[in-house]
Each structure stands twice: as structure tokens, then as C-alpha cells.
């Protein structure tokens, strides 16, 4: 009637279907999580600010970053990638996004943090528009699930301004 092969086939198909269903449910369950993250960033110091020989402005910042991202973690969260980006517009560019600092948060226990950092990536403009430039600092997070849909959001912090003169 039913050969070994047929039985094995049915069992395997059933197991895979069940696993796929569980993965889908785990991914969907992320949507029921209510998020209440908050962050605070302070520009402590402009370490230096100059025009490079290429004509582009470059600035080096010291930052104090504190954030609480504990609410992003669910049972389906593998890690949260968090980064702080400077965002501003110039006459040439509608949007410039420059990542200044980033980190990987592996678990809820590490999701409430305070850190003092220099900008990890070079803050270079495409041109010479940074003097007196007002910019936003935006804390972005990208949640990587154990399985399923990835999602991302951000907190925009505005009202930061670079000095009028190089130093």
C-alpha cells in the first residue's frame, strides 16, 4: 500500500510545512510589540574642522550618545543594528546622510547604553557647505529577526549646528 518512500515523503513535507508556518508566525508576532525607544545625543566637542585639499569640508566630532532600545527586543530578535547619522541638505544635494557611529546590540541586556564616541566614519561633505550648517542627528535602528521580516525605524534629533569658522 504505502511504501517507505511515500511515508518518508509525507513526513518530510509535513515537517517542512510546520516549520515554515512557525517561522511565519514568529515573524508576524513581531508586529504586536509596542515600541517606546528613546535617545539623547550631545555634541561635546568639535575636535577639528577644515577644508581638505580636494575642496571638501571635513569635521571631526565628539559625541555623547545615550539610548534605551530595550523595547525593540522580542523573542524573534537576533540583534539590533543601531547607528547615528548626520543628515542635512546642501544646494547641490537634496539629502546627505553620513553615518557617524554604529553598533550591534546583541541582546536586551545591552540595549540601554551610554557611550562617548568620536565619529567612526569620516564626516566629509561633497563640497564646502559645512560652515554654520544646521544638521539633524538621527538615530536609526534596524532589527534583524531570527527569521522573517526585517524592520527599521529612527528618532530624528534636530537643532545641531556646526561652527561658522574652520578650526
Amino acid at each position: 500500500m504505502h511504501s517507505f518512500g511515500q511515508r518518508a515523503n509525507v513526513l518530510l513535507t509535513f515537517a517542512i510545512t510546520l516549520l515554515a508556518l512557525m517561522c511565519a508566525i514568529a515573524s508576524v508576532s513581531d508586529n504586536f510589540n509596542s515600541l517606546s525607544p528613546h535617545a539623547h545625543v550631545q555634541v561635546v566637542n568639535i575636535n577639528w574642522f577644515q577644508k581638505k585639499s580636494s575642496g571638501d569640508d571635513e569635521v571631526s566630532l565628539s559625541l555623547n550618545i545615550s539610548a534605551n532600545l530595550e523595547s525593540l527586543f522580542t523573542w524573534n530578535t537576533k540583534q539590533v543594528f543601531v547607528f547615528l547619522a548626520a543628515e542635512y541638505g546642501t544646494p547641490k544635494n537634496a539629502l546627505n546622510q553620513i553615518s557617524l557611529w554604529d553598533g550591534i546590540i546583541p541582546s536586551r541586556e545591552h540595549a540601554k547604553f551610554w557611550i562617548h564616541a568620536y565619529n567612526k566614519y569620516r564626516f566629509i561633505d561633497q563640497g564646502s557647505n559645512l560652515r554654520g550648517k544646521e544638521f539633524n542627528l538621527t538615530l536609526h535602528w534596524h532589527v534583524m529577526p531570527k527569521t522573517g521580516k526585517m524592520f527599521a525605524d529612527k528618532i530624528v534629533m534636530s537643532g545641531y549646528r556646526l561652527p561658522q569658522a574652520y578650526r
Partner: protein, 180 residues
């Protein structure tokens, strides 16, 4: 002696019928796989809707053998997104995160810089000689979904071709020998 001829012709016709049936089954499997792939291409707008992660540069987020689902929409590319890009002269696409974006006001064209989460350096060293930014044309999709470990079969098969041939041969034999 007519019954012998009858038997012979009936046996012959059965074998022909079976052979045809098997050919059609194989054809069905191949064409449905092709249809699913092409259908996914249409829905996602990406020329390769599913990719297998081959390197450790995005650890611990993505490990070797994980599968990523890609989408390519009209939406602008933004910092933090994980994109898959192709560099001229390289055949393997790279999955890395966008860390800088400069979007032109007049044309909307973007200059993008990427970096692997697990790499110390940004990707300028991976780009073509003299290339400093990625443009939209290099990017074939952004990662939207994730399934762990499922891609290991692909990695094993590309790295140990013998296993691939054994597997393919076995499957072919199974299809040919199976009765229905």
C-alpha cells in the same frame, strides 16, 4: 498467433506512454521552477529575488548559508539599508549595509557608500579601481526578509560539485524509475 502481436503492440504502447508521461513530469517540474523564479522577479522588481549569503562580512546578522529576500522598488536608497550590489568586472554580488548617502537635488541620482557590519573598513577597496561611490545602477536589490541556514545546500553544491552530480543523478534516476 494474433494474440502475440497484440501483446507486443500493447506492451510497446505502454512503454511509449510511460516515457512520454515521465518527460512531461520532468518538463512540468522544470517549468514550474522557472515560473516561480520569473514570477518572483516580477513581484519584487529585483533581477535576483533570493540570494544566499556567501561571506562572513555581515556577521553576526547574516551568516554563511542564510537566505535573503530582495526587493527593488522606486523608493530612494537610504543609510542603514542592506543592499546587494554588483560591481563591473565582478561576478559575485555583495550584500552590505549603506553607511553614506548623497542624493543629488536635480537628477535624484545617489552616491552611496557601503560597508559590511563585520568589516573594519568601508567598501571602497571592493569597488572598481578609482570608483569611490556606488550608483543606483550597481544596486540590484535591498534585503527585506531573512531565513536562516536554508541556503547551505547551495553552498555545498557549488563548493563540492561531485555532491551536486550525485544528487542530480539520483533525482533523475528516481524520476525515470518511479511508476507514477
Amino acid at each position: 498467433m494474433g494474440w502475440i502481436e497484440d501483446t507486443v503492440t500493447s506492451v510497446k504502447s505502454i512503454q511509449l506512454r510511460q516515457a512520454l508521461h515521465q518527460t512531461i513530469s520532468i518538463g512540468l517540474i522544470v517549468t514550474s521552477a522557472l515560473m516561480i523564479w520569473k514570477g518572483l522577479m516580477c513581484i519584487t522588481g529585483s533581477e535576483s529575488p533570493i540570494v544566499v549569503v556567501l561571506s562572513e562580512s555581515m556577521e553576526p546578522g547574516f551568516a554563511r548559508g542564510d537566505i535573503l529576500f530582495l526587493r527593488m522598488s522606486k523608493e530612494p536608497i537610504r543609510a542603514g539599508e542592506i543592499v546587494v550590489y554588483n560591481i563591473n568586472g565582478r561576478d559575485i554580488p555583495i550584500v552590505h549595509r549603506v553607511i553614506k548617502v548623497h542624493e543629488r537635488k536635480d537628477t535624484g541620482e545617489v552616491d552611496v557608500l557601503t560597508k559590511g557590519d563585520n568589516n573594519e573598513e568601508d567598501d571602497i577597496g571592493l569597488y572598481a579601481p578609482g570608483q569611490r561611490w556606488l550608483q543606483r545602477k550597481h544596486i540590484i536589490g535591498r534585503a527585506v526578509g531573512f531565513l536562516p541556514h536554508v541556503g547551505w545546500a547551495t553552498i555545498i553544491m557549488t563548493e563540492k560539485p561531485l555532491i551536486k552530480y550525485i544528487l542530480l543523478g539520483g533525482l533523475g534516476l528516481l524520476v525515470i524509475t518511479s511508476k507514477d
